[in-house]
Each structure stands twice: as structure tokens, then as C-alpha cells.
Amino acid sequence: MSDRDDIFKRADEFLAVFRRGAEFTRELVEENQRLRGQIVEVDRRDNDAAQDTTEWGKLRQQLLTHIEGLEVEKEDVLERLRALEEENRQFANRYVEIEEENNNLANLYVASYQLHSTLDLSEVLKIIIEIVINLVGAEIFCVYVHDDKTGLLEPVAAEGEKVPAFPSVPMGTGIVGVSVASGDTHATDSNGSADYESPIVSIPLRVEDRPIGAIAIFKLLAQKEQFTLLDHELFTLLAGHAATAIFAAELHAQSERKLNTIQGFIDLLTK
């Protein structure tokens, strides 16, 4: 390529750059004019507003009043929201309480239902044991029945230990004897006692003033840390219902024996 051609090429490039610059300058001038127009318009509006102060003041006052109204409304809504949240919280707590109460009542109902589901003494004792294991959560305990002839409370059923391991208890003596004689449940906060004359709980079983027996708890299951309100309600239920269940089963057994004796006599006389 010759020097001449090179010069022409460079001249063309320069011209192209110059044209782009000219175009850019023209755009800048146009934008400048547009912005100037906008500034003039804003100034005009400002002047108009400044001249109409009464109208602005009125509008401002209206807006302030409206804002105050909205503030009051907001406070009212927030207050109602707080009240609703509180009510909701109370409902949730009440729901939990009712749910717990429902569970407790179900437990008490099942215990009562099962205790009166049979007239067989051994079945009644089995049910008492089931209730004390499954509902109270005891590991070692003994059921005593009062012997009318000797006046002793005799161990008749037990869990966690063989029946002979538990001593007979004279009425009015020791924790169990005193509990049955007085009709008061003895309950401690301890979860175990190795002394089989000192249970942690003694539930007297009585029908009116008649002693029927007792349930003595010596140790709770490992996972049972302490007695709950339901446990104490169960003690009260057992004190009444287990006593009547044992009493009814004993009466039934007696009546069965007497019936058989009478039937034997009748058979003897009529044959």
C-alpha cells in the first residue's frame, strides 16, 4: 500500500470519528434542551403552589386528619390483634388442658370399667395389678386383702416380687395397717423403698367403714420419675372401686358356695 492510500484511509477514519462526535454533541444539546424545559415546568408548578397557599394548607390539613384517623385505626386494629392473639393463646392452653383431662378421664374410665367387668376374685386382682402397672407405672407392689377372722391384712397378689416376700399386716399397725384403719391414702415423693413394711404409697381399700384390703407400692418403674395429679386421682378411684370390686367378688363367691350347699340339700331331700 502506498503512502497516499494510507493518508486517505486515515483521513476517512478521522472523518468517521468526527461525524460520531458531531452526532453525540447534537444529542447532548437536545437532552440539555429537554431538561431545561422540565426545570421551567417544575419552577412554574412551584410558583403556582406558592401562590395558592390556602388550597395547599387545606389539603395538608385534610391529609394530616386522614393520617391521624389511620393512626387511630391502626392502633385499634393492633389492639384487636393483640386481644385475638391472647384469646388464641388461651384457647390453645385450654385445648391442651382439655386434651389432658380427656386422657385422664379415659384412664379413669378404663380403670373403673375393668374393675367392674368381672365377679371373679382372681380376675379382679389381676385387673388391679394391670392398672397399677399400666396406669400408675409401679414396678414392685402388693395387694392385701383383709381377713375378717384374724384381722390381718394378707398379701394375696404382687408384682415385681413373690407374694410371700410381703409380710401380713395387723390392722392399725405400720404404714399399711394405719392407712387402712384410718381410710387415708399414704403417699410420699420417693420413687422406691426396699423395706416391704414401708411402702411409698399405701391405698386403703374400704367399703364404707368396712376394711377390704390395701394396695402398697414399693417401687416405681425406672422411667416413672414421680407421681402426677392423675396418679392421685387413680389412687382415689382404686380406693373406692377396687374395694367394691373385691367385696362384690367375695360376696359372689360366698353366694355361689351357699347356693351349691342349698342345691345339695334340695337334691338330697328330693332324691
Partner: protein, 125 residues
């Protein structure tokens, strides 16, 4: 309404009644009771269940044996099983879980815990 068939294998009528009371609160729950492991095995292999609650200490066949037999059945490998027992010791829980139980409840049972576990295993919201 979705139904949930639940089998309770428990020798104590008191416990069975308590569990029925608790589980009846689940919508669509259909509860079947078995009084020992053998009775439970018969029922679980002759019908479809979505969940089984099994006591460990039972006459005729104990709960651990029942769980191992259930897990040997082809169609029952995934059925959720909850073990119920008086034993709180970790080794008993581990033994039951190793045999294939999914959850573990210790006595005295609480209805809300039974419900929570059943809902979780049955994937009920």
C-alpha cells in the same frame, strides 16, 4: 376419608382398652385387637394393616418373637411397628428396634404420645 387399619397386640384388656381409646381419635382409624403374639400373627398375616402396636411381655408368643416373624413375611417388611413394654432400659429398646420395630413406648403410656407416634408413622398431618 382415608382409613388406617391398626392392630393392637396386647394381653392386658386394660391396656388394649386404653390404646383403643387413644387411637380412636385418629380419623379413619379401624382398630383390631389381638390378645397374644400368636393371635396377632394370625391377624396380621390374614389382613392388611397400616400399623401394629405390640406388647413385649405376652403369653403364648412374646412381642419380640412376633416382630421377628412379621419381618420375615415378604409383605410385612415395611409395616410400621410400635413396641409397648414396661421396660425402660435402653438395651430392651435397642433389641426391639434391631428386630425391626420402628418406635418404642414405655408404660405407663400416655394417650397423647401414642397418638403422636401413630400419626407420625401413618404420615397423618
Amino acid at each position: 376419608m382415608e382409613r388406617h387399619r391398626i392392630l393392637i397386640v396386647e394381653d392386658s384388656p386394660t391396656m388394649r382398652q386404653l390404646l383403643v381409646f387413644a387411637l380412636k381419635r385418629l380419623k379413619g382409624a379401624e382398630i383390631v385387637e389381638a390378645q397374644d403374639g400368636l393371635d396377632g400373627l394370625r391377624k396380621v398375616t390374614s389382613d392388611d394393616f397400616d400399623l401394629a402396636l405390640v406388647d413385649i411381655n405376652m403369653p403364648v408368643m412374646d412381642g419380640l418373637k412376633l416382630i421377628s416373624l412379621i419381618r420375615d413375611e415378604d409383605g410385612l417388611k415395611d409395616m410400621p411397628i410400635v413396641v409397648i413394654t414396661t421396660e425402660g432400659a435402653k438395651e430392651d429398646r435397642d433389641r426391639a428396634l434391631a428386630l425391626g420395630a420402628d418406635e418404642y413406648l414405655t408404660k405407663p403410656i400416655q394417650a397423647n404420645k401414642v397418638l403422636a407416634i401413630a400419626k407420625a408413622l401413618l404420615k397423618i398431618e
